[in-house]
Symmetry: C2
Subunit: 382 residues, 2 copies
């Protein structure tokens, strides 16, 4: 039998067959009436997922370009504070610096959880800032920050709040309007259950009105906003991916955002329960908020690269290594988007088999049962 | 019967069913061994299509981003000459100016064909330039410039040569290495027969070594080159589109580039023959080089917007209006990529029917026959 394949990384994530089927439809022209119906619905569905009335600007690009759009449109000469605790937070620093911000880097150790009171103190010391950059789900460590609290601290000091929600949008709660967020970047290939290639940045009126000239042609917010207002795009968009994203967003909204958030909480619980039952140590926090990716320390004497290579070689399964200095030390299981409990048990079972083969001292036969038990109970009271 | 649909614009272009089918395959991880085999082959096939040994940098983006990558990596403080004769040439001006070039705009009227001796004189007057920006196929007018001659003039004055080959690569001859081109931008959605979403910029050693710091994070040449050298990508690429592009490039190279160029020449001849037989006036040049898109003046008393709307309403057919000040005055038929003679006769027949309905004085029943005759003879002696 040809090898079955399993994609358990924190992005790209598995894509439902209905979405894949939509990709195979004949290409539509981006200015045709048939496409515009889909485009309009897709943009409205994005607003629903972001819980915003603001424009969701759509770019044909990876998520990083949506992040860069915020830097290129907000940073020129601005006083910017970047809160970082991992690879993606540090990406904000590079983007803000490149685009001319006067940069204040507020760094935590990788794996720490940023605290709103730290941000409030720093902003008080600085006498405020023009923009604060945050990461909701730090994919490199599995930490999900309390963006609502961090944003409140930033707003109190008069800053615009920019959030990287690439791996979190649709997986954990995010309330663009209720939390007063000004720019929120995301991407198609995570909880939005679509292949990589589309990036979006929802942008508040206040951020659009901040009036700094764009330092990017392709990522110019105003050019994109003006085009979308006429249901057009400034440059030929990835129409096939937009058609697919529309199908995926329909599925997500049919499930209901609250149900999807609940499912992710339970998947995270299940994954952590299984990991602990195996006798492994979590790197990501052992808490419900950590519902996007579970980061696990490689056991004593085992290089996590061998775990990643082992599940691929034996089972056609892709999981993620650590990034940066954590490469070889942790491995990561994503559970974002089109995932159910059996994806978790499958991933855990494969990890268990490979760790045993590598001679690690793991508890055998416990992880799958513990994961099922961890999943069983509703996350929130009915 | 549900309406059949016809896509006859100069981009996006029709995509072969084999390529669409590849899009519907399960998503691969960009760092997995299974993807890397495809990625490596796709990058090698791109080099074959560009006829270059240089790196072809691949961006998840529209073609404009590949253009911007050249501006962002070459323009900071550079003396740049932009040769323009239409909407896309003027786009080079905007990009070069935004990224800090000292800009010399060498503008022709829309529809004119840039001349190498004009460029040589201008460069002589200026005492040379650091970079010259050219457009091979000016999609807004149907003009295909003699890039080989223009590039020679630019090289003679010591300039790097940057070419927009978005609608031309794979349709008309382009010899990156033999012509000494330094950066050539293209996109997936034209002659490369893939949906929009991938952009590429082939970059010579000399251009990479020009040593100006990138003004874009996402479009940084050096970051992209370094990642591709390890068969990696700096940001999650549109893996599904890359798998599809690989299939399409395989088809193009199986046909053979020379055969594809010959086919485009004959399609262009057929289209022009049909247009003239109908009694319409060409806007694009009546010459073999004009093999990418045929631009046609709307007949006296007819708004070209009504032609575009008419073929869509009656026949589910998408053709292109004029851009900018040519909107309403010309319409454009693309014949790029996955096109054969019956696409041309179908387009002409529909245009004839709609023009007749609009009361235009067109010769009836002549276009299809003339197109078939125009196509019949080989473009070059065997």
């Amino acid at each position: 039998m040809p090898e079955k394949k399993y994609l358990f990384t924190p992005g790209p994530t598995p894509v439902p067959p209905q979405v894949l089927a939509a990709l195979a439809e004949p290409v539509l022209h981006h200015r045709g009436a048939d496409f515009r119906v889909i485009y309009e619905r897709c943009l409205a569905r994005l607003q629903a997922v972001y819980r915003t009335g603001a424009d969701v600007l759509l770019f044909t690009a990876s998520g990083t370009a949506a992040m860069e759009s915020a830097g290129a449109n907000l940073c020129d000469g601005a006083r910017a504070v970047v809160v970082s605790a991992g690879a993606f937070g540090e990406r904000w620093e590079k983007i803000a610096a490149l685009h001319g911000a006067e940069l204040e880097a507020m760094r935590y150790e990788w794996g720490e959880t940023p605290r709103a009171d730290d941000l409030a103190s720093r902003l008080a010391e600085l006498g405020g800032a023009d923009v604060v950059f945050l990461t909701q789900s730090e994919t490199s460590t599995g930490v999900v920050a309390d963006v609502q609290a961090l944003a409140a601290a930033a707003k109190e000091h008069g800053a615009l709040v920019v959030v990287d929600a690439i791996s979190s949008l649709g997986a954990v709660p995010l309330e663009m309007d209720a939390w007063g967020l000004d720019a929120v970047a995301s991407g198609s290939q995570k909880a939005l259950m679509t292949p990589p290639g589309l990036a979006m940045c929802a942008v508040s009126e206040q951020a659009l009105g901040a009036g700094r000239p764009s330092r990017s042609f392709y990522l110019d917010w105003e050019r994109t906003r003006a085009a979308q207002a006429k249901l057009d795009a400034p440059f030929t968009p990835a129409t096939s991916l937009i058609v697919a994203l529309d199908v995926a967003l329909g599925m997500l909204l049919d499930e209901g955002l609250e149900a999807a958030f609940e499912r992710h909480v339970r998947l995270g619980r299940a994954c952590r329960a299984g990991v602990k039952a195996m006798g492994l140590e979590l790197f990501s926090p052992d808490e419900d908020r950590s519902a996007v990716v579970t980061a696990i320390r490689a056991p004593e004497g085992v290089d996590s690269s061998d775990v990643v290579a082992g599940v691929r070689r034996h089972f056609g399964m892709t999981i993620a290594n650590g990034q940066g200095h954590l490469k070889g030390r942790i491995f990561r299981l994503g559970h974002i988007g089109w995932f159910d409990i059996f994806d978790i048990t499958t991933a855990l079972a494969a990890v268990e088999l490979v760790l045993a083969e590598l001679g690690a001292d793991v508890e055998r036969g416990a992880a799958v049962t513990a994961a099922l038990e961890g999943f069983e109970h509703q996350a929130t009271a009915p």
